[in-house]
Amino acid sequence: MQRIGVFVCWCGSNIAGTVDVQAVSDALKNEPGVVFSTNYQYMCSQAGQNMIKDAVAEHKLTGIVVCSCSPRMHEATFRKTAAAAGINPYMVEIANIREQCSWVHKDMVTGTEKAIILGKAAVAKVNLNTPLTPGESPVTKRALVIGGGIAGIQTALDIADAGFPVDIVEKKPTIGGKMAQLDKTFPTLDCAACILTPKMVDVAQNDKIRIFSYSEVTDVKGFVGNFDVTIKKHARYVKEDICTGCGACTEKCPMKKVPNEFNLGMDNRSAIYIPFAQAVPKVATIDPNYCNMLKNGKCGVCSKVCAAGAIDYKQQDEFIEEKYGAIVVATGFNPISMDKFDEFAYNQSKDVITSLEFERLTNAAGPTAGKLLRPSDLKHPHTIVFVQCVGSRCDACAEKGKEYCSKICCMYTAKHAMLTRDKYPDTDVYVFYIDVRTPGKNFDEFYRRAVEEYGVHYIKGMVGKVTPEGDKLKVQASDLLANKQLHIDADLVVLAAAIEPDKSARPLATMLTASMDTNDFFTEAHPKLRPVESPTAGVFLSGACQGPKDIPETVSQAGAAASKVIGLLAKDKLTGNPCVASSNELMCNGCSTCERVCPYGAITYENKEFRMPDRTTAIRRIAVVNPAVCQGCGCCTVACPSGAMDLRGFANSQIIAEVDAICK
């Protein structure tokens, strides 16, 4: 039996003005378990708190009920008081007789009646309270960043800067991501490589950062502070630590007809390759799909020309297991496939390209060495049509396209149009838009400059059809403001393709038990207040894996994610919320219902041997809640058919006791 002390606060006249506090403390004196009851002017004051401490000592109290203001106001205060008095802080319950009683009721009789009932409910609950201790778990002081684009790079650099070791896992042979493929960056037009490659070098040279390139995460176990991750390092058939990146092998390799993915297939590379000049790590990789030596054992040229002796045709995939305290997802985006958009003739004509391909065409390191030549005949295009919103902002029911705005297209199209007009003033540039969306610092100014200073023709309307005819592309489009249908003979058509999360994101989310939206973007723990955290504790989001983003936004989110990781890794131990779910293994059916509703992936199952009443043993599947991951929402408790799952601090019996006390 508990020994409960009741302390009714006057809150000056805030409570005492409408509630007869003496009557409340008298009435509660007779409740079961109550051994002491009093009232005082300001319970939260030092004197009031001392009164509680004295009463605990004098009456050997095991539980405390404070009838006062909202628990959201002073629950923490009174819990500290309880702890100081030597009882468990979770043996305190607050009856809210100010915000939810004296302040909303005017009549002394009804106010007092209700206050007594609220006090009784709190007493009934405390009778069933048990001391709770927050769980503690250690923190592995190492972070994992999945994805080596600008988001991953920035996050890793910021974490390493705070002194914590970081590993980057990148599935391509080099880090750099999409930004490495870009030409110039809006709105300042500095070259992407000039600002990105120094960061890549910083990553390579930072002794806190390890890069696992050409690798992917294959398994994640554990929970916040204690993740066990398996990383699969694909065989690149080149010893990474020996290769100097001299490039001799790539020159001598006889197999030179491999579509170069870095230039989006617009030119070719050799079977052994370094993706681009500033690659990090600058190490060659053999493409096993094209290498003659690996396919049929006939060649071996690269091995002969390699002065360092780095080539190893026998290399195997390697699995690395590592522990991490925090995981940052930075898996980025890809332009969507244009296969379903027949009307734009993307698959019929080489001169209909996506904006990312246009980036490579204008990039000095691209297939045309930066000269704007159209892919089909390498002639200079004189009329270029840009089409915006290709596959963005589509109806949810439509079979093609995405429902969301891809956010970056308006700005990069303005950039492309402006740069084209700047370099080639003899070119007519048309941009077909539905809306021009340019929120962002100096963004709208940038777009206006494209129109006003560079003479780009912005036309409100959409392109309906592109037909290749001879060496021209017949573009049929709407000009909605002029209410005309336009027919333009274009030399080049550039499609602002919608962007979508990388395909690797969905299986990764499953491994991390991190939630995703229907578009496969990772969801945030809170859309406004916790935008860089996943609901799964210890998993953080950086860059476009969370939603379409431009570079400045990505970098700021990357920094924010890093600071969250640093905050986590700076702790030696994680203290959990003790009000978590727990399953009574004797009653658990192992039916997996609770696991399905848990938003945090806190519930796992194990097979456990039980001694049965008939003295046999049986192995039963039972649910186990990880208290470090559980956030205490209680959803599982209702989903559980047998009632095995219960929530500490808000147990079934406690809530029912409150209901009973109120309804008596």
């Binding site: 909202s70 628990p71 959201r72 809210n96 100010r98 915000e99 939810q100 009683c101 302040w103 909303v104 009721h105 005017k106 009549d107 009804t110 106010g111 009646e113 209700k114 009932i117 609220l118 409910a121 939630s515 969801t523 723990a525 809170h526 859309p527 609901p535 009000c579 509703v597 938003p599 956030q631 205490g632 929402c633 209680g634 959803c635 408790t637 209702v638 989903a639 929530l647 808000f650 079934n652 809530i655 029912i656 409150e658 209901v659 009973d660 109120i662 309804c663 008596k664």
Partner: protein
């Protein structure tokens, strides 16, 4: 014989993050609602087991209302979506058993909606009071 004025008994389950805070805000702004409403704090509306609702009725409550964060705003991301399904089915079942549908309600009240909280409670209490005492949920045998 003197008729005692009928006062309904209403149990309100409020989630800690939105609706309980909304109720506090109603208090801060001194927006009054009937004292018949008694609030029970739960971490999330999804903590409310249909058994609690039935228990309240069994013990003589005249109305039960659940308040939670607006859909999409749940502190635990998805709790109120489950609440929505559970309570939709439970309420539909109670209605099927002939229990007055005005006795049950789910309302989404954010921490900023003190006024909505008070208005909701006023409206709910009025509707429940109009129905009178909860007789349908009492023992069938005794009433025969």
């Amino acid at each position: 014989m003197q008729v005692k004025e009928y006062k309904p008994l209403i149990v309100a389950f409020c989630c800690n993050w939105c609706s309980y805070a909304g109720a506090d805000l109603a208090g801060n702004n001194r927006l009054s609602y009937p004292a018949d409403v008694k609030i029970i704090r739960v971490p999330c509306s999804c903590r409310v087991n249909p058994m609690f609702v039935l228990r309240a009725f069994q013990r003589g409550a005249d109305g039960v209302i659940l308040c939670g964060c607006h859909p999409g705003d749940c502190h635990y991301t998805s709790g109120n979506y489950y609440t929505r399904r559970r309570m939709a089915l439970l309420f539909s079942m109670l209605d099927y058993l002939g229990i007055e549908k005005e006795r049950t309600r789910v309302e989404w009240v954010s921490a900023a909606e003190g006024a909505k909280f008070a208005a909701t409670m006023n409206d709910f209490a009025e509707k429940v009071a109009a129905l009178g005492e909860n007789k349908r949920l009492e023992d069938l045998r005794c009433k025969r």
